[in-house]
């Protein structure tokens, strides 16, 4: 689909703190057509969200799970064609940005506020695939060359 006819935003986060942070950022996309993807069932319902998709979880020690996650994300991206993908992590979010960038989306990585002294590994890997690459701590942002633009805390 040509970029200009894309409409929706995809917001991705692993279940747990990453998801809680994403939820606090919702005012940023108020009024947009948003889809959500997360790794824990029940979270989207609890937040009363429409257009929520479940994706399998993975971490960097689980090659097979990473493939499953990547396949699910690819299928989702091809189906909904987001123009912007935003993630607070973790690895499933990185995978969404890597694949999404290839498919023509604009991308945002927001490193978790948990990473107060150094950026996460996934965040470091996300740099090349991010149009907006953020740390929520000024000292970390300075250390790695990311943007600091506030934090959820």
């Amino acid at each position: 689909m040509p970029y200009r006819s894309r409409n929706c935003i995809l917001a991705v986060a692993s279940g747990g703190g990453h998801w809680e942070e994403l939820m606090l950022l919702r005012p940023a996309w108020l009024g947009e057509d948003v889809h959500y993807a997360t790794t824990l069932k029940g979270l989207a319902e609890r937040a009363e969200l429409d257009n929520a998709h479940y994706i399998p979880d993975c971490n960097r020690d689980e090659r097979l799970n990473m493939v499953r996650t990547a396949l699910a994300i690819t299928a989702l991206l091809i189906r909904i064609q987001p123009r912007v993908i935003i993630t607070t992590g973790a690895l499933p979010g990185l995978i969404a940005l890597l694949i999404g960038k290839r498919l023509g989306a604009r991308t945002v990585w927001i490193d978790s506020v948990a990473n107060a002294e150094e950026m996460s590994l996934a965040g470091q890997r996300a740099r090349r695939a991010s149009d907006l690459w953020i740390s929520q701590w000024p000292s970390v942002a300075e250390l790695v060359g990311a943007e600091y633009a506030g934090s959820v805390l």
Partner: protein, 157 residues
């Protein structure tokens, strides 16, 4: 009722063992979500996994929350205005892949309602305190700032 949580990803035996012991000594009522299906405690109620709705219910009914130093735990305690004790995981004890929880805890020092126990002795002292300050959900200037930045990016995309 005290509610303890170790997050969705990994067990945290050192915390749960400490809570079990303290509950026995002091007669405290503690319900713990442990991420540890094989673990049985002596003095506290444990469950490995809670679905989000049940988790919310336990948090809402608690007078005090105790957790690993996970951001989900912190944000939930703030949202529900509960006093929170956090007990960071340590990589050296194989409790996590790195020490970012120690860094998180250092960064949270002084945040209203978030009380940090760096070891089991401090954990016991905090659990025995009678009037721990609750956390608050107030939106901060920095969170408005971050929202604005992301919003700005979206509208330019």
């Amino acid at each position: 009722m005290i509610f303890a949580t170790v997050g969705t990803q990994l067990p945290f035996r050192r915390l749960i063992n400490a809570l079990d012991e303290i509950a026995g000594e002091r007669g405290l009522t503690i319900h713990a979500q442990t991420a540890d299906p094989n673990y049985r405690a002596r003095n506290i109620d444990t469950i490995a996994k809670l679905d989000p709705a049940s988790f919310d219910e336990r948090m809402a009914n608690a007078t005090l929350i105790v957790g690993h130093a996970g951001i989900g735990t912190v944000l939930n305690a703030k949202k529900l205005r509960k006093p929170l004790i956090i007990f960071p995981r340590r990589a050296a004890l194989n409790e996590h892949r790195n020490d970012h929880q120690l860094a998180t805890a250092r960064a949270l020092e002084g945040v209203e309602g978030v009380h940090i126990a760096w070891n089991e002795v401090e954990l016991k002292a905090l659990l025995s305190a009678s009037d721990l300050e609750p956390a608050t959900p107030e939106g901060s200037a920095t969170s408005f700032q971050l929202i604005a930045r992301v919003r700005d990016f979206i509208s330019g995309s």
